[in-house]
Each structure stands twice: as C-alpha cells, then as structure tokens.
C-alpha cells in the first residue's frame, strides 16, 4: 500500500515519537513535581516559558533551534557532545526539537496529577515507614497512573503530528530525518495525490486510534482522569 520510502518515513516518525516520549517522561517527572508541589519565585515566568510551544508557531521554535544548535550558535556545544559538527539536519537534532516542542503536552498532565495528590497521603506513607524514593514508587506513581498515561499518549501523538519544527531543523533526509508529515507534504508538492491520500489516511487513523484509546481509558476511571 505505502511505498518503501513512506514506510521508512513512518518508521522515523514512530521512532522519534517513542524516544521523545521516553525522554520527556524522565525529564518532566521531576520538573512537574517541582512545579506542582513547591512555590518558588519566578515560577510563573518559568511556566510561561515551558508552555510557549503551545502557542508559538512551530516554525519559530524551529528557526531558533536551527540557529541555536548550529556550529556558531550558543548551543553549538550540544553538537560536540554528540560528536557532530552541527545538529541541524540530524535525527539527534530532531529529538531535541521534539522534546522542546512536545514538552507542555507531557508536563501538564503530570503536573495536574501531582497537584491532586493529598500531602497527608505522603505524610502517612512516611509515618508508615516509606522513604522518599519508596513513596514515589509505592504511592505517587500508582495514584498518578492516569496522569502518566495521558502524558505518554499526548506526548507521543503530538510528536507524531509535528511538522514545522521538523521542516526547519530536520530537512528531509530519507531514513534519517524525513518523517511522515514531511513525506506527505512532499507528495503534495510533487502532485502525487494518491500517495498523499494513503499516508494521510494512515496518520489520521493512527492519531484517532491513540486518542480514542486515551479517552476510552479515562472514561472507565472517571474520577482519576487528568487531561491538561
């Protein structure tokens, strides 16, 4: 049905979305905990910055990343960490861009879930003999399962749908940085509407399936849902 190139692009998309989601879960867990459970000066500004990808045109983010991660940009050292001259037009660059772009979609559900935890539950767990790390795994995590599921699905689906950022910093190297949404755009540009239709249908179906799964699951647990 799909051409080999399209399968490859879809594979890159899914790989990118999976990696981004995993990284975001690890990054956002402490960040969301800190934002939800502490009150510190400058917090509102920090939250505004972290929420920027929600409203900023993706191309703006992509543009700054392209400049920033380039060899002469202030983030040029990041490329050296990965032993490359520049992160523009590389998969690593795409991952960094996606992490920033999808961050609010993972951060917000986690933050909501952490805010909803009653601090007396944590106190009681401490009296019951649980150390902080133990409390996180035995109390916070199970009570925030819904929040984590929402975060994972939204982070994954949103990364799958990204276009502007990818176009700016990823270019379109087959098997490396050409993701499904960009491949679709190229089909349209080339006037190949049949391929475009097929790929669009696959992306539509996949996105719908993910969101349907999320909402179905949340309906079954009506009190504990945590959508952003």
């Amino acid at each position: 049905m799909l051409s080999e190139g399209d399968w490859l692009a879809l594979g890159v998309s899914i790989q990118l979305a999976l990696l981004t989601t995993v990284l975001l879960m690890a990054l956002c867990t402490p960040l969301a905990w800190w934002l939800a459970r502490r009150r510190l000066p400058g917090q509102a500004l920090l939250e505004a910055v972290l929420a920027l990808p929600l409203v900023l045109p993706p191309s703006v983010l992509g543009f700054y990343l392209l400049i920033g991660l380039g060899p002469s940009g202030p983030g040029g050292w990041v490329a050296e960490v990965f032993e490359q001259r520049s992160l523009a037009f590389t998969f690593t660059g795409l991952v960094i861009g996606s992490v920033l772009y999808s961050l609010p979609f993972v951060l917000q559900p986690l933050k909501n879930a952490f805010s909803a935890i009653d601090s007396q539950q944590l106190d009681m767990a401490a009296v019951a003999g649980a150390r902080p790390r133990d409390r996180f795994f035995s109390l916070v995590l199970p009570q925030c399962r819904e929040g984590y599921a929402s975060a994972a699905i939204l982070g994954f689906a949103h990364t799958l749908g990204e276009f502007g950022v990818v176009l700016m910093i990823g270019g379109s190297l087959s098997g490396e940085t050409r993701v499904a949404s960009v491949a679709l755009y190229e089909h349209v540009e080339a006037g190949d509407y049949v391929s475009a239709h097929r790929l669009a249908a696959v992306l539509l179906g996949l996105s719908l399936l993910l969101l349907w799964g999320l909402f179905r699951w949340q309906r079954r647990r009506p009190n504990l849902g945590a959508m952003p």
Partner: protein
C-alpha cells in the same frame, strides 16, 4: 520509655516553645483551643515538620543539634483527623503497606485485625468505606509494626456520635500496651481517655500533670470552663437490684448511680462529676431527693466570672469541684477547712 521534648519552632504567627515529658504509660491528652499549636507539636514529634531543640524517646535521640530522625526512623504509629487511607490500595493492601515497611512481627496482623474488627473489610477498596470503618482501618494500620508511641491527632473529629464511642474503646484498649499522645479540644474525650493532661495555649504547654489533678485545680484553665468536671477513681461495689442502682466506692464513701446492667464487682472505674451538678449545705439534709450526699471539706474557693464561685472540695481523699453562686458562698460563710455536705445531682461513668 518516656518521651522528652524541648523544642522550638515558628508556626505561622506564633512561636511554638515546648518543654514536656511524656509518661511511659497510658494516654496523655494534649488539650487546648484550636490554633494553640497542638497538631503542630504532634507533627514535630512525628518528624513531619522541622523544629529545633531536643526530642528523645527511651534511650534514642530523635532530634538534637546533630541528629534528626525522619518519620520512618521513629517507632511511631499515627492517626490524623481524616483516616488518610492509601486510596489506590484495598484495606488489606493498606495493612500490608505498613507491615512490610515496619517489620510487623509474625501473627501481629491477625491479632490487630481481630482487635479492631476489620476482618470483613479486608478485600474492600478504601473508597467504599464509611467514616467509622475507615478510621478503624487507619487505627489498625497505625498499630502494625509494634509502634512504641501512638500519636493521635483528633481522630474522632470526622466521625458521627455512634462511631466515636466505638473508636474510643479501641484507643483505650490500644493504650494498655503502648503510650498514646492524644490531641483534642473536646472535654468528653479528655474525660474519657486521659491519664495525664498537657494543657496547651498559644504554642506553649502551660500545665502538665495527672488528669484528675489538672481538672480540679482551682487556678487551672480547665476548672474555669463552664463544663468544668472532676474525675474520681472508684471500685465497683454492691448492686441494689430493686432500685437498679450501682454502688461505687470512692475511698470510704459510696456513690450510687443508675445503671441498666450491674457492673463487675471489684473492677476499677472512673466517675465524672460536673462542677455545676454539685451544690453544698452546711448540715446533712434529711429530706432531699438527691441520692448522693457526702461529707466533704472545702480546700479552696475562687471567683470565676461575675457572681460565680468555684469551690474545691476534698471528698473521700479525692478532689471534686462545685460551682455555686457568689451569694451562696457568702451566706454559707465558706472558708478553706470548712466541713460541708456535697449534694451531687449527677454522676456518670466514663
């Protein structure tokens, strides 16, 4: 195994500063108005809130200049106002959570489940439990792992009357094997449970001592209250079957109180006598409907409020209070050492 406290800490608008020693047995009631700092002090003892100073328990230092044990390192069990059961677990899961982490001795769980009567609830999710059931499970959970000190923060405040008595009995039972520090501002709970009392006001403990002594101290804040009440220790004596009256001996005197079922003779009981239920006469009235009229001696008098006088009396070696009008006190010419008869209108078991 006594708890020694010498702590200071800032609590919002006031400074909490407490020096106190907890008796190693029975229930010590930490009593005072709302906002006095009672719960804060309890949280400091648990290690949930930071404070400065020294806390030692038995031969263990919980807090000092260079030691601060975390809550999970202190051998405590705790109840909050709300049951605070772990909501993602079943009742059994809640018990296991503590048992596993606090190294509950083998067989203890079965015993605690039996004591608290929560056997039928074990498989239930905690969301479906009633308030009374939840707090019983919370108590069972607090008893697991053999805590050496129970910290109870107004555990009855979220319960209805019917369930309060049930939980009080369970707490009294638990207190036979482990010392309890019990926070409340409720006089009934104080009378029902306390062996010792710590009176707390504005972040300080202003008096500490045996409950019966603190309750009947003329200069104490408990005696100044409208519901001032004395506690007497007594022994169950004869039962007058035809009158449904139970005799209780207090020293060399006998008090009678109406009961539906006779009590076990020889058992020790506690009686409560409210100051406003005691009136005084200079000679024994031969024609009174009041059952309990006993000779007593005035220890002291104190004016409380406009036109009201509080009289402290020695009765069969123990202390009770009478709240009478200032005019009556003058007309009877009461003075410390005067012999009187106390007419006790109501006396109840606690």
């Amino acid at each position: 195994m006594s708890l020694e406290l010498s702590v200071q800490g800032q609590r919002g608008s006031f400074r909490l500063q407490v020096e106190a020693t907890l008796k190693p047995q029975g229930v010590t009631v930490l009593f005072g108005p709302s906002g006095a700092g009672k719960s804060s002090l309890l949280r400091m003892v648990a290690g949930l809130d930071h404070c400065d100073g020294v806390i030692s328990f038995a031969d263990q230092t919980w807090l000092s200049a260079d030691v601060e044990l975390a809550p999970w390192q202190r051998p405590i069990g705790m109840l909050f106002q709300q049951p605070t059961l772990f909501r993602h677990l079943t009742v059994q899961g809640n018990l296991d959570y503590v048992a596993r982490r606090r190294q509950s001795p083998a067989g203890q769980q079965a015993q605690v489940i039996e004591q608290t009567g929560i056997g039928p609830l074990l498989a239930r999710r905690v969301e479906g439990l009633s308030g009374g059931e939840s707090q019983r499970v919370a108590l069972a959970r607090a008893l697991l792992g053999a805590p050496q000190l129970l910290l109870l923060d107004e555990p009855l405040s979220a319960l209805d009357e019917a369930h309060k008595g049930e939980l009080l009995d369970l707490i009294a039972m638990a207190a036979r094997s482990v010392p309890v520090l019990y926070v409340t501002h409720n006089m009934d709970e104080l009378l029902r449970l306390s062996d010792q009392v710590w009176l707390m006001e504005r972040g300080r403990i202003i008096a500490q001592g045996p409950a019966s002594q603190e309750l009947s101290r003329l200069d104490g804040s408990l005696a100044q209250r409208a519901d001032a009440t004395a506690l007497l220790a007594g022994l169950v004596a004869d039962y007058a079957r035809e009158d449904h009256l139970q005799g209780i001996t207090v020293g060399d005197a006998t008090l009678w109180l109406p009961v539906e079922q006779p009590l076990v003779a020889g058992e020790s009981v506690r009686l409560r006598i409210a100051a406003r239920d005691v009136s005084l006469c200079l000679s024994a009235p031969g024609d009174s409907s009041i059952l309990n009229i006993l000779p007593a001696r005035v220890i002291g008098l104190r004016e409380v409020g406009p036109g009201q006088c509080l009289v402290q009396l020695a009765l069969a070696g123990q202390c009770i209070l009478a709240r009478i009008s200032g005019r009556s006190a003058r007309q009877l010419s009461l003075f410390p050492g005067a012999d009187v008869y106390a007419q006790i209108k109501a006396v109840a078991l606690v």
